[in-house]
Protein backbone atom coordinates (compact mmCIF):
# COMPACT_ATOMS: atom_id res chain seq x y z
CA UNK A 1 0.00 0.00 0.00
CA UNK A 2 2.87 2.31 0.68
CA UNK A 3 4.01 1.93 -2.91
CA UNK A 4 0.55 2.74 -4.19
CA UNK A 5 0.18 5.75 -1.93
CA UNK A 6 3.55 7.06 -2.97
CA UNK A 7 2.77 6.65 -6.63
CA UNK A 8 -0.57 8.36 -6.27
CA UNK A 9 0.97 11.25 -4.36
CA UNK A 10 3.80 11.71 -6.84
CA UNK A 11 1.56 11.58 -9.82
CA UNK A 12 -0.92 13.94 -8.25
CA UNK A 13 1.79 16.42 -7.29
CA UNK A 14 3.31 16.40 -10.73
CA UNK A 15 -0.02 17.09 -12.30
CA UNK A 16 -0.48 13.64 -13.74
CA UNK A 17 1.87 11.87 -16.01
CA UNK A 18 -0.67 9.41 -17.33
CA UNK A 19 -0.96 9.36 -21.04
CA UNK A 20 -4.56 8.38 -21.77
CA UNK A 21 -7.13 9.48 -19.27
CA UNK A 22 -9.71 6.75 -19.00
CA UNK A 23 -12.97 8.22 -20.33
CA UNK A 24 -15.10 5.78 -18.38
CA UNK A 25 -13.62 7.05 -15.14
CA UNK A 26 -14.06 10.69 -16.11
CA UNK A 27 -17.64 10.02 -17.11
CA UNK A 28 -18.66 8.13 -14.01
CA UNK A 29 -16.57 9.47 -11.14
CA UNK A 30 -16.15 12.90 -9.71
CA UNK A 31 -13.03 14.63 -10.92
CA UNK A 32 -10.99 14.21 -7.73
CA UNK A 33 -11.71 10.49 -7.49
CA UNK A 34 -11.18 10.01 -11.18
CA UNK A 35 -7.75 11.63 -11.03
CA UNK A 36 -6.73 9.54 -8.06
CA UNK A 37 -7.87 6.33 -9.71
CA UNK A 38 -6.19 7.29 -12.95
CA UNK A 39 -2.98 7.74 -11.04
CA UNK A 40 -3.25 4.23 -9.69
CA UNK A 41 -4.09 2.90 -13.13
CA UNK A 42 -1.07 4.66 -14.55
CA UNK A 43 1.09 3.17 -11.84
CA UNK A 44 -0.15 -0.28 -12.79
CA UNK A 45 0.57 0.41 -16.42
CA UNK A 46 4.13 1.40 -15.57
CA UNK A 47 4.59 -1.80 -13.60
CA UNK A 48 3.17 -3.90 -16.38
CA UNK A 49 0.12 -4.94 -14.41
CA UNK A 50 -3.36 -5.24 -15.93
CA UNK A 51 -5.28 -1.99 -15.68
CA UNK A 52 -8.77 -3.08 -16.64
CA UNK A 53 -9.51 -4.74 -13.28
CA UNK A 54 -8.59 -1.48 -11.57
CA UNK A 55 -10.92 0.53 -13.77
CA UNK A 56 -13.65 -1.98 -13.18
CA UNK A 57 -13.14 -1.85 -9.44
CA UNK A 58 -13.61 1.92 -9.54
CA UNK A 59 -16.75 1.61 -11.67
CA UNK A 60 -18.03 -1.07 -9.33
CA UNK A 61 -17.59 1.28 -6.39
CA UNK A 62 -19.42 4.02 -8.25
CA UNK A 63 -22.32 1.73 -9.08
CA UNK A 64 -22.46 0.59 -5.46
CA UNK A 65 -22.57 4.14 -4.21
CA UNK A 66 -19.22 4.11 -2.42
CA UNK A 67 -17.58 7.37 -1.43
CA UNK A 68 -14.65 8.57 -3.49
CA UNK A 69 -12.00 7.86 -0.89
CA UNK A 70 -13.31 4.36 -0.45
CA UNK A 71 -13.19 3.76 -4.17
CA UNK A 72 -9.60 4.93 -4.29
CA UNK A 73 -8.72 2.69 -1.36
CA UNK A 74 -10.36 -0.35 -2.96
CA UNK A 75 -8.56 0.25 -6.23
CA UNK A 76 -5.29 0.63 -4.37
CA UNK A 77 -5.83 -2.61 -2.49
CA UNK A 78 -6.53 -4.35 -5.78
CA UNK A 79 -3.36 -2.95 -7.30
CA UNK A 80 -1.46 -4.26 -4.32
CA UNK A 81 -3.07 -7.67 -4.79
CA UNK A 82 -2.24 -7.75 -8.46
CA UNK A 83 1.36 -6.88 -7.71
CA UNK A 84 1.66 -9.58 -5.06
CA UNK A 85 0.01 -12.04 -7.42
CA UNK A 86 2.59 -11.40 -10.06
CA UNK A 87 5.38 -11.82 -7.56
CA UNK A 88 3.96 -15.16 -6.48
CA UNK A 89 2.83 -16.45 -9.87
CA UNK A 90 5.65 -15.11 -12.00
CA UNK A 91 5.95 -12.58 -14.75
CA UNK A 92 4.32 -14.91 -17.28
CA UNK A 93 1.05 -14.95 -15.37
CA UNK A 94 -1.90 -13.64 -17.35
CA UNK A 95 -4.35 -10.95 -16.31
CA UNK A 96 -6.96 -13.50 -15.26
CA UNK A 97 -4.45 -15.31 -13.10
CA UNK A 98 -3.38 -12.10 -11.45
CA UNK A 99 -6.97 -11.10 -10.79
CA UNK A 100 -7.71 -14.53 -9.35
CA UNK A 101 -4.61 -14.19 -7.21
CA UNK A 102 -5.89 -10.87 -5.89
CA UNK A 103 -9.13 -12.66 -4.94
CA UNK A 104 -7.04 -15.30 -3.20
CA UNK A 105 -5.36 -12.67 -1.06
CA UNK A 106 -8.65 -10.97 -0.35
CA UNK A 107 -10.03 -14.31 0.83
CA UNK A 108 -7.21 -14.82 3.31
CA UNK A 109 -4.61 -16.72 1.31
CA UNK A 110 -0.94 -15.83 1.41
CA UNK A 111 1.70 -15.18 -1.23
CA UNK A 112 3.68 -18.18 -0.05
CA UNK A 113 0.70 -20.45 -0.67
CA UNK A 114 0.14 -18.94 -4.09
CA UNK A 115 3.80 -19.52 -4.92
CA UNK A 116 3.44 -23.16 -3.95
CA UNK A 117 0.52 -23.49 -6.34
CA UNK A 118 2.56 -21.99 -9.14
CA UNK A 119 5.36 -24.42 -8.34
CA UNK A 120 2.94 -27.36 -8.39
CA UNK A 121 1.56 -26.43 -11.82
CA UNK A 122 4.19 -24.46 -13.64
CA UNK A 123 2.75 -24.81 -17.11
CA UNK A 124 -0.97 -24.25 -16.68
CA UNK A 125 -3.15 -21.24 -16.15
CA UNK A 126 -4.21 -21.07 -12.53
CA UNK A 127 -7.03 -18.59 -13.06
CA UNK A 128 -9.88 -21.06 -12.72
CA UNK A 129 -8.48 -23.15 -9.83
CA UNK A 130 -7.53 -20.08 -7.84
CA UNK A 131 -10.80 -18.27 -8.50
CA UNK A 132 -12.82 -21.31 -7.47
CA UNK A 133 -10.65 -21.83 -4.41
CA UNK A 134 -10.79 -18.18 -3.40
CA UNK A 135 -14.54 -18.43 -3.24
CA UNK A 136 -14.25 -21.53 -1.07
CA UNK A 137 -11.75 -19.75 1.17
CA UNK A 138 -14.33 -17.04 1.64
CA UNK A 139 -16.76 -19.66 2.86
CA UNK A 140 -14.28 -20.92 5.41
CA UNK A 141 -12.04 -23.44 3.70
CA UNK A 142 -8.70 -23.12 5.53
CA UNK A 143 -6.03 -21.73 3.16
CA UNK A 144 -3.41 -24.23 4.31
CA UNK A 145 -5.64 -27.19 3.52
CA UNK A 146 -6.72 -25.55 0.30
CA UNK A 147 -3.13 -25.26 -0.80
CA UNK A 148 -2.42 -28.89 0.00
CA UNK A 149 -5.47 -30.16 -1.81
CA UNK A 150 -4.92 -27.90 -4.80
CA UNK A 151 -1.40 -29.28 -5.10
CA UNK A 152 -2.92 -32.75 -5.07
CA UNK A 153 -5.42 -31.83 -7.76
CA UNK A 154 -2.68 -30.33 -9.91
CA UNK A 155 -0.62 -33.50 -9.58
CA UNK A 156 -3.68 -35.41 -10.76
CA UNK A 157 -3.88 -33.04 -13.74
CA UNK A 158 -7.44 -32.09 -12.95
CA UNK A 159 -8.93 -29.89 -15.65
CA UNK A 160 -10.52 -26.48 -15.29
CA UNK A 161 -13.89 -28.05 -16.03
CA UNK A 162 -13.35 -30.41 -13.11
CA UNK A 163 -12.61 -27.47 -10.83
CA UNK A 164 -15.94 -25.97 -11.83
CA UNK A 165 -17.64 -29.27 -11.16
CA UNK A 166 -15.97 -29.30 -7.76
CA UNK A 167 -17.70 -26.07 -6.88
CA UNK A 168 -21.02 -27.42 -8.08
CA UNK A 169 -20.49 -30.61 -6.11
CA UNK A 170 -19.71 -28.65 -2.98
CA UNK A 171 -22.80 -26.50 -3.48
CA UNK A 172 -24.93 -29.60 -3.84
CA UNK A 173 -23.46 -31.10 -0.69
CA UNK A 174 -24.00 -27.92 1.27
CA UNK A 175 -27.61 -27.79 0.19
CA UNK A 176 -27.90 -31.36 1.38
CA UNK A 177 -26.77 -30.32 4.84
CA UNK A 178 -23.08 -31.19 4.67
CA UNK A 179 -20.37 -29.04 6.21
CA UNK A 180 -17.99 -27.17 3.96
CA UNK A 181 -14.67 -28.84 4.70
CA UNK A 182 -15.90 -32.45 4.46
CA UNK A 183 -17.77 -31.54 1.30
CA UNK A 184 -14.65 -30.10 -0.31
CA UNK A 185 -12.57 -33.08 0.79
CA UNK A 186 -15.10 -35.46 -0.72
CA UNK A 187 -15.05 -33.60 -4.01
CA UNK A 188 -11.26 -33.58 -4.06
CA UNK A 189 -11.21 -37.31 -3.35
CA UNK A 190 -13.62 -37.81 -6.23
CA UNK A 191 -11.46 -35.87 -8.64
CA UNK A 192 -8.11 -37.12 -7.43
CA UNK A 193 -8.62 -40.48 -5.75
CA UNK A 194 -5.79 -42.10 -3.91
CA UNK A 195 -3.96 -38.91 -3.10
CA UNK A 196 -2.36 -37.85 0.11
CA UNK A 197 -4.42 -37.93 3.23
CA UNK A 198 -5.94 -34.67 4.22
CA UNK A 199 -4.38 -33.35 7.41
Amino acid sequence: MMTVATAVTLLALTGGGWQDPEPRLRARLDSVTARAVEAIVDSARIRGLPTEPLIQKALEGRTKGAAGDRIVAAVGILLDGLGRSRQALGSAAGADELQAGALWFRAGGTAEQLGRLRHAAPGRSLAVPIAVSAELLTRGWPPDEATLLLERLFRARVSDAAFLSLRIGVNDALRGGASLVPAVRAEVARLAPGGNRVP
Partner: protein, 337 residues
Amino acid sequence: MTGRVAAAVALGLMAATVARAQTRPSVELRGGAAGFGKLGPGLGLDARLERPTWEGGVAFGGQPGSRWEREAAFRFGLAAERGPFRWSLGALGLESSLGGLGGGVFGSGRFRVGRLVVTGEVGQIATVSGAWQLGSGATAADTGRKGSARRLGHGVLGGQWRRGAVELNGRLIRRSRLAPDDRAGWEVGVGVLPVSGLRLGLSVGRAPIGPSLYLPFRNQITFGLSWAERRPRRAEATTGGAASLPGFDVTRRNSGLVAIVVRIPGARSVELVADFSDWRPLPLTARGRGVFAAEVPLAPGVYLVNLRVDGGPLQVPAGLEGVDDGFGGRVGVLVVR
Protein backbone atom coordinates in the same frame (compact mmCIF):
# COMPACT_ATOMS: atom_id res chain seq x y z
CA MET B 1 -65.03 -37.67 -39.56
CA THR B 2 -62.99 -35.76 -42.07
CA GLY B 3 -63.28 -32.02 -41.75
CA ARG B 4 -65.38 -32.11 -38.70
CA VAL B 5 -64.62 -29.24 -36.42
CA ALA B 6 -64.66 -30.17 -32.82
CA ALA B 7 -64.27 -27.96 -29.81
CA ALA B 8 -61.95 -29.26 -27.23
CA VAL B 9 -61.09 -28.23 -23.74
CA ALA B 10 -57.90 -29.97 -22.78
CA LEU B 11 -55.17 -29.28 -20.37
CA GLY B 12 -52.34 -29.66 -22.78
CA LEU B 13 -52.81 -33.34 -23.36
CA MET B 14 -53.41 -32.80 -27.02
CA ALA B 15 -51.60 -29.48 -27.13
CA ALA B 16 -48.36 -29.11 -28.97
CA THR B 17 -45.61 -30.97 -27.29
CA VAL B 18 -43.11 -29.08 -29.27
CA ALA B 19 -40.01 -27.21 -28.38
CA ARG B 20 -39.35 -26.10 -24.94
CA ALA B 21 -37.06 -23.40 -23.71
CA GLN B 22 -33.54 -24.16 -22.64
CA THR B 23 -34.76 -24.22 -19.09
CA ARG B 24 -36.55 -27.48 -19.45
CA PRO B 25 -38.93 -28.79 -16.90
CA SER B 26 -37.78 -31.58 -14.69
CA VAL B 27 -41.34 -32.40 -13.79
CA GLU B 28 -44.35 -31.40 -15.81
CA LEU B 29 -47.96 -32.21 -15.15
CA ARG B 30 -50.69 -31.63 -17.66
CA GLY B 31 -54.30 -32.48 -17.43
CA GLY B 32 -57.65 -31.42 -18.73
CA ALA B 33 -60.89 -32.12 -20.46
CA ALA B 34 -61.76 -32.14 -24.13
CA GLY B 35 -64.74 -32.50 -26.35
CA PHE B 36 -64.65 -34.02 -29.83
CA GLY B 37 -67.96 -33.33 -31.43
CA LYS B 38 -69.94 -36.54 -31.61
CA LEU B 39 -67.28 -38.32 -29.66
CA GLY B 40 -68.20 -36.39 -26.55
CA PRO B 41 -66.01 -34.87 -23.89
CA GLY B 42 -62.62 -36.25 -23.02
CA LEU B 43 -60.34 -36.09 -20.05
CA GLY B 44 -56.59 -36.32 -20.00
CA LEU B 45 -53.56 -36.21 -17.79
CA ASP B 46 -49.97 -36.20 -18.88
CA ALA B 47 -47.02 -36.31 -16.51
CA ARG B 48 -43.40 -36.42 -17.41
CA LEU B 49 -40.09 -36.31 -15.65
CA GLU B 50 -37.08 -35.04 -17.50
CA ARG B 51 -33.51 -35.33 -16.34
CA PRO B 52 -30.25 -34.55 -18.11
CA THR B 53 -29.62 -38.18 -19.05
CA TRP B 54 -33.06 -39.73 -19.19
CA GLU B 55 -36.75 -38.99 -19.28
CA GLY B 56 -39.96 -40.79 -18.66
CA GLY B 57 -43.63 -40.16 -18.57
CA VAL B 58 -47.13 -41.46 -18.50
CA ALA B 59 -50.25 -40.16 -20.23
CA PHE B 60 -53.83 -41.11 -19.75
CA GLY B 61 -56.81 -40.16 -21.83
CA GLY B 62 -60.43 -41.13 -21.65
CA GLN B 63 -64.01 -40.28 -22.40
CA PRO B 64 -66.52 -40.89 -19.67
CA GLY B 65 -69.95 -42.16 -20.46
CA SER B 66 -71.25 -45.00 -22.48
CA ARG B 67 -69.21 -44.27 -25.58
CA TRP B 68 -65.95 -44.17 -23.79
CA GLU B 69 -62.39 -44.67 -24.62
CA ARG B 70 -59.47 -45.12 -22.34
CA GLU B 71 -55.88 -45.20 -23.23
CA ALA B 72 -52.56 -44.99 -21.56
CA ALA B 73 -49.07 -44.46 -22.83
CA PHE B 74 -45.86 -45.05 -20.95
CA ARG B 75 -42.53 -43.99 -22.23
CA PHE B 76 -38.93 -43.99 -21.21
CA GLY B 77 -35.88 -42.76 -23.02
CA LEU B 78 -32.26 -41.85 -22.70
CA ALA B 79 -31.20 -38.27 -23.26
CA ALA B 80 -28.13 -36.16 -23.76
CA GLU B 81 -27.67 -32.41 -23.69
CA ARG B 82 -24.99 -30.82 -25.79
CA GLY B 83 -24.85 -27.07 -26.11
CA PRO B 84 -28.25 -25.74 -27.11
CA PHE B 85 -29.58 -29.18 -28.07
CA ARG B 86 -31.19 -31.95 -26.18
CA TRP B 87 -31.33 -35.37 -27.79
CA SER B 88 -33.55 -38.04 -26.44
CA LEU B 89 -33.88 -41.56 -27.70
CA GLY B 90 -36.83 -43.55 -26.51
CA ALA B 91 -35.96 -47.12 -25.83
CA LEU B 92 -39.24 -48.27 -24.43
CA GLY B 93 -42.82 -47.23 -24.85
CA LEU B 94 -46.07 -48.98 -24.22
CA GLU B 95 -49.54 -47.94 -25.17
CA SER B 96 -52.85 -49.51 -24.56
CA SER B 97 -56.28 -48.43 -25.61
CA LEU B 98 -59.75 -49.65 -24.92
CA GLY B 99 -62.80 -47.85 -25.99
CA GLY B 100 -65.54 -46.91 -28.33
CA LEU B 101 -63.92 -44.50 -30.69
CA GLY B 102 -66.07 -43.74 -33.71
CA GLY B 103 -68.80 -46.12 -32.80
CA GLY B 104 -66.66 -49.26 -32.81
CA VAL B 105 -65.19 -50.96 -29.81
CA PHE B 106 -61.60 -52.01 -29.80
CA GLY B 107 -58.74 -52.83 -27.53
CA SER B 108 -55.09 -52.70 -28.36
CA GLY B 109 -51.61 -52.92 -26.99
CA ARG B 110 -48.60 -51.49 -28.71
CA PHE B 111 -44.93 -50.98 -28.21
CA ARG B 112 -43.02 -48.00 -29.32
CA VAL B 113 -39.73 -49.30 -30.48
CA GLY B 114 -37.97 -46.07 -31.20
CA ARG B 115 -38.43 -42.40 -30.54
CA LEU B 116 -35.88 -39.71 -31.30
CA VAL B 117 -36.50 -36.13 -30.25
CA VAL B 118 -34.14 -33.24 -30.83
CA THR B 119 -34.77 -29.87 -29.29
CA GLY B 120 -32.61 -26.83 -29.84
CA GLU B 121 -32.65 -23.14 -29.19
CA VAL B 122 -32.57 -20.40 -31.79
CA GLY B 123 -31.45 -17.26 -30.07
CA GLN B 124 -32.89 -16.59 -26.68
CA ILE B 125 -36.58 -16.74 -27.29
CA ALA B 126 -37.25 -19.30 -29.97
CA THR B 127 -36.87 -23.04 -29.96
CA VAL B 128 -37.33 -25.69 -32.58
CA SER B 129 -37.73 -29.41 -32.24
CA GLY B 130 -38.02 -32.43 -34.42
CA ALA B 131 -39.11 -35.93 -33.57
CA TRP B 132 -39.50 -39.23 -35.33
CA GLN B 133 -40.81 -42.37 -33.80
CA LEU B 134 -41.75 -45.82 -34.86
CA GLY B 135 -44.44 -47.90 -33.32
CA SER B 136 -45.39 -51.50 -33.69
CA GLY B 137 -48.10 -53.53 -32.10
CA ALA B 138 -51.35 -55.32 -32.40
CA THR B 139 -54.91 -54.14 -32.43
CA ALA B 140 -57.93 -56.21 -31.72
CA ALA B 141 -61.23 -54.65 -32.62
CA ASP B 142 -64.73 -55.56 -33.64
CA THR B 143 -64.41 -53.57 -36.79
CA GLY B 144 -62.56 -56.13 -38.85
CA ARG B 145 -59.01 -55.24 -37.82
CA LYS B 146 -58.58 -58.12 -35.47
CA GLY B 147 -55.06 -59.01 -34.70
CA SER B 148 -53.56 -56.53 -37.06
CA ALA B 149 -49.97 -55.57 -36.51
CA ARG B 150 -48.56 -52.43 -38.02
CA ARG B 151 -45.43 -50.40 -37.97
CA LEU B 152 -46.05 -46.71 -37.82
CA GLY B 153 -43.84 -43.71 -38.39
CA HIS B 154 -44.71 -40.48 -36.62
CA GLY B 155 -42.79 -37.26 -37.20
CA VAL B 156 -43.20 -33.86 -35.61
CA LEU B 157 -41.46 -30.62 -36.50
CA GLY B 158 -42.27 -27.84 -34.10
CA GLY B 159 -41.26 -24.36 -33.13
CA GLN B 160 -41.89 -21.99 -30.30
CA TRP B 161 -41.33 -18.28 -29.87
CA ARG B 162 -41.58 -16.55 -26.57
CA ARG B 163 -41.33 -13.01 -25.42
CA GLY B 164 -42.05 -12.17 -21.85
CA ALA B 165 -45.14 -13.99 -20.70
CA VAL B 166 -46.52 -14.67 -24.18
CA GLU B 167 -45.71 -17.70 -26.27
CA LEU B 168 -46.57 -18.68 -29.81
CA ASN B 169 -46.05 -22.21 -31.02
CA GLY B 170 -46.79 -24.49 -33.87
CA ARG B 171 -46.04 -27.94 -35.19
CA LEU B 172 -46.38 -30.05 -38.27
CA ILE B 173 -47.20 -33.72 -37.91
CA ARG B 174 -46.66 -36.50 -40.40
CA ARG B 175 -47.53 -40.14 -40.07
CA SER B 176 -46.97 -43.04 -42.34
CA ARG B 177 -48.96 -46.20 -42.88
CA LEU B 178 -52.27 -44.70 -41.88
CA ALA B 179 -55.31 -43.69 -43.83
CA PRO B 180 -54.76 -40.57 -45.97
CA ASP B 181 -56.85 -38.42 -43.65
CA ASP B 182 -54.63 -39.35 -40.75
CA ARG B 183 -51.25 -38.80 -42.33
CA ALA B 184 -50.73 -35.05 -41.99
CA GLY B 185 -51.63 -32.62 -39.27
CA TRP B 186 -50.76 -29.24 -37.94
CA GLU B 187 -51.36 -27.10 -34.95
CA VAL B 188 -50.73 -23.49 -33.99
CA GLY B 189 -51.21 -22.05 -30.58
CA VAL B 190 -50.75 -19.15 -28.26
CA GLY B 191 -49.92 -19.39 -24.59
CA VAL B 192 -49.61 -17.06 -21.67
CA LEU B 193 -47.55 -17.68 -18.59
CA PRO B 194 -49.11 -15.51 -15.88
CA VAL B 195 -47.02 -16.84 -13.03
CA SER B 196 -43.99 -19.04 -12.77
CA GLY B 197 -44.70 -22.64 -13.69
CA LEU B 198 -48.25 -22.07 -14.96
CA ARG B 199 -49.15 -22.00 -18.64
CA LEU B 200 -52.51 -21.31 -20.26
CA GLY B 201 -52.77 -22.14 -23.92
CA LEU B 202 -55.13 -22.12 -26.84
CA SER B 203 -54.40 -23.95 -30.05
CA VAL B 204 -56.18 -24.89 -33.24
CA GLY B 205 -55.35 -27.41 -35.90
CA ARG B 206 -55.67 -30.95 -37.03
CA ALA B 207 -53.92 -33.28 -34.68
CA PRO B 208 -54.15 -36.71 -33.08
CA ILE B 209 -56.83 -36.87 -30.46
CA GLY B 210 -54.73 -38.59 -27.84
CA PRO B 211 -51.33 -39.73 -26.77
CA SER B 212 -51.45 -43.01 -28.67
CA LEU B 213 -49.64 -43.24 -31.96
CA TYR B 214 -52.58 -44.89 -33.64
CA LEU B 215 -55.41 -42.55 -32.82
CA PRO B 216 -56.93 -40.62 -35.71
CA PHE B 217 -56.52 -36.96 -36.53
CA ARG B 218 -59.31 -34.49 -35.92
CA ASN B 219 -59.86 -30.79 -36.46
CA GLN B 220 -59.91 -29.39 -32.98
CA ILE B 221 -59.63 -26.38 -30.79
CA THR B 222 -57.76 -27.00 -27.60
CA PHE B 223 -57.59 -25.06 -24.39
CA GLY B 224 -54.67 -26.06 -22.25
CA LEU B 225 -53.43 -25.60 -18.75
CA SER B 226 -50.18 -27.03 -17.56
CA TRP B 227 -47.87 -26.69 -14.64
CA ALA B 228 -44.18 -27.41 -14.65
CA GLU B 229 -41.58 -27.36 -11.98
CA ARG B 230 -38.39 -26.31 -13.64
CA ARG B 231 -35.00 -27.03 -12.26
CA PRO B 232 -31.70 -25.94 -13.70
CA ARG B 233 -29.64 -28.07 -15.97
CA ARG B 234 -26.22 -28.60 -14.55
CA ALA B 235 -24.19 -30.43 -17.11
CA GLU B 236 -22.31 -27.50 -18.54
CA ALA B 237 -19.34 -27.53 -16.24
CA THR B 238 -18.17 -30.86 -17.48
CA THR B 239 -19.31 -30.58 -21.05
CA GLY B 240 -17.43 -27.61 -22.29
CA GLY B 241 -19.72 -24.89 -21.05
CA ALA B 242 -18.82 -22.34 -18.51
CA ALA B 243 -20.50 -22.81 -15.20
CA SER B 244 -23.88 -24.07 -14.20
CA LEU B 245 -25.27 -23.39 -10.81
CA PRO B 246 -28.72 -23.58 -9.29
CA GLY B 247 -30.67 -20.58 -10.46
CA PHE B 248 -27.80 -19.23 -12.51
CA ASP B 249 -26.75 -21.02 -15.67
CA VAL B 250 -23.98 -19.92 -17.97
CA THR B 251 -23.51 -21.68 -21.28
CA ARG B 252 -21.23 -20.89 -24.17
CA ARG B 253 -23.06 -21.03 -27.47
CA ASN B 254 -21.64 -22.23 -30.72
CA SER B 255 -21.86 -18.62 -31.85
CA GLY B 256 -19.29 -17.73 -29.22
CA LEU B 257 -21.78 -15.75 -27.17
CA VAL B 258 -22.34 -16.74 -23.59
CA ALA B 259 -25.93 -17.32 -22.53
CA ILE B 260 -26.75 -16.36 -18.98
CA VAL B 261 -30.00 -17.71 -17.63
CA VAL B 262 -31.32 -16.74 -14.23
CA ARG B 263 -34.29 -18.32 -12.50
CA ILE B 264 -36.03 -16.27 -9.87
CA PRO B 265 -39.67 -17.30 -9.51
CA GLY B 266 -41.96 -14.36 -9.03
CA ALA B 267 -39.43 -11.74 -10.14
CA ARG B 268 -40.64 -9.01 -12.50
CA SER B 269 -37.25 -7.78 -13.65
CA VAL B 270 -33.67 -8.89 -13.29
CA GLU B 271 -30.54 -6.96 -14.17
CA LEU B 272 -26.95 -8.09 -14.27
CA VAL B 273 -24.44 -5.63 -12.95
CA ALA B 274 -20.95 -6.87 -13.68
CA ASP B 275 -17.48 -5.94 -14.74
CA PHE B 276 -18.23 -7.11 -18.27
CA SER B 277 -20.95 -4.43 -18.47
CA ASP B 278 -18.75 -1.73 -16.94
CA TRP B 279 -20.96 -2.10 -13.89
CA ARG B 280 -23.92 -0.66 -15.74
CA PRO B 281 -27.21 -2.54 -15.40
CA LEU B 282 -27.73 -5.09 -18.14
CA PRO B 283 -31.45 -5.97 -18.23
CA LEU B 284 -32.23 -9.62 -18.80
CA THR B 285 -35.07 -10.63 -21.08
CA ALA B 286 -38.00 -12.19 -19.28
CA ARG B 287 -38.85 -15.58 -20.72
CA GLY B 288 -41.67 -16.46 -18.39
CA ARG B 289 -41.89 -18.81 -15.47
CA GLY B 290 -39.36 -16.79 -13.54
CA VAL B 291 -36.69 -17.26 -16.18
CA PHE B 292 -34.59 -14.31 -17.37
CA ALA B 293 -31.83 -14.51 -19.94
CA ALA B 294 -29.25 -12.62 -21.93
CA GLU B 295 -26.48 -13.43 -24.32
CA VAL B 296 -23.26 -11.52 -23.96
CA PRO B 297 -19.91 -11.72 -25.74
CA LEU B 298 -17.56 -12.98 -23.06
CA ALA B 299 -14.07 -14.31 -23.53
CA PRO B 300 -12.95 -17.10 -21.21
CA GLY B 301 -11.95 -15.57 -17.92
CA VAL B 302 -12.90 -14.60 -14.42
CA TYR B 303 -15.69 -12.06 -13.99
CA LEU B 304 -17.35 -10.36 -11.05
CA VAL B 305 -21.13 -10.28 -11.07
CA ASN B 306 -24.04 -8.95 -9.04
CA LEU B 307 -27.77 -9.19 -9.69
CA ARG B 308 -30.53 -6.70 -9.07
CA VAL B 309 -34.03 -8.11 -8.77
CA ASP B 310 -37.09 -5.86 -9.18
CA GLY B 311 -34.94 -2.80 -8.66
CA GLY B 312 -33.81 -3.96 -5.22
CA PRO B 313 -30.33 -4.07 -3.73
CA LEU B 314 -27.45 -5.73 -5.51
CA GLN B 315 -27.00 -9.35 -4.56
CA VAL B 316 -24.80 -12.29 -5.34
CA PRO B 317 -26.34 -14.67 -7.89
CA ALA B 318 -27.62 -17.93 -6.48
CA GLY B 319 -24.93 -20.56 -6.37
CA LEU B 320 -22.12 -18.05 -6.36
CA GLU B 321 -21.03 -17.55 -2.77
CA GLY B 322 -19.28 -14.33 -3.56
CA VAL B 323 -16.28 -12.56 -2.13
CA ASP B 324 -15.79 -9.29 -0.31
CA ASP B 325 -16.16 -6.49 -2.85
CA GLY B 326 -14.23 -3.91 -0.85
CA PHE B 327 -17.29 -1.71 -0.49
CA GLY B 328 -19.00 -3.47 2.36
CA GLY B 329 -20.84 -5.98 0.20
CA ARG B 330 -20.20 -9.11 -1.76
CA VAL B 331 -19.74 -9.90 -5.40
CA GLY B 332 -20.05 -13.23 -7.18
CA VAL B 333 -17.07 -14.76 -8.95
CA LEU B 334 -18.06 -16.10 -12.35
CA VAL B 335 -15.63 -18.29 -14.24
CA VAL B 336 -16.32 -18.53 -17.97
CA ARG B 337 -14.55 -21.09 -20.09
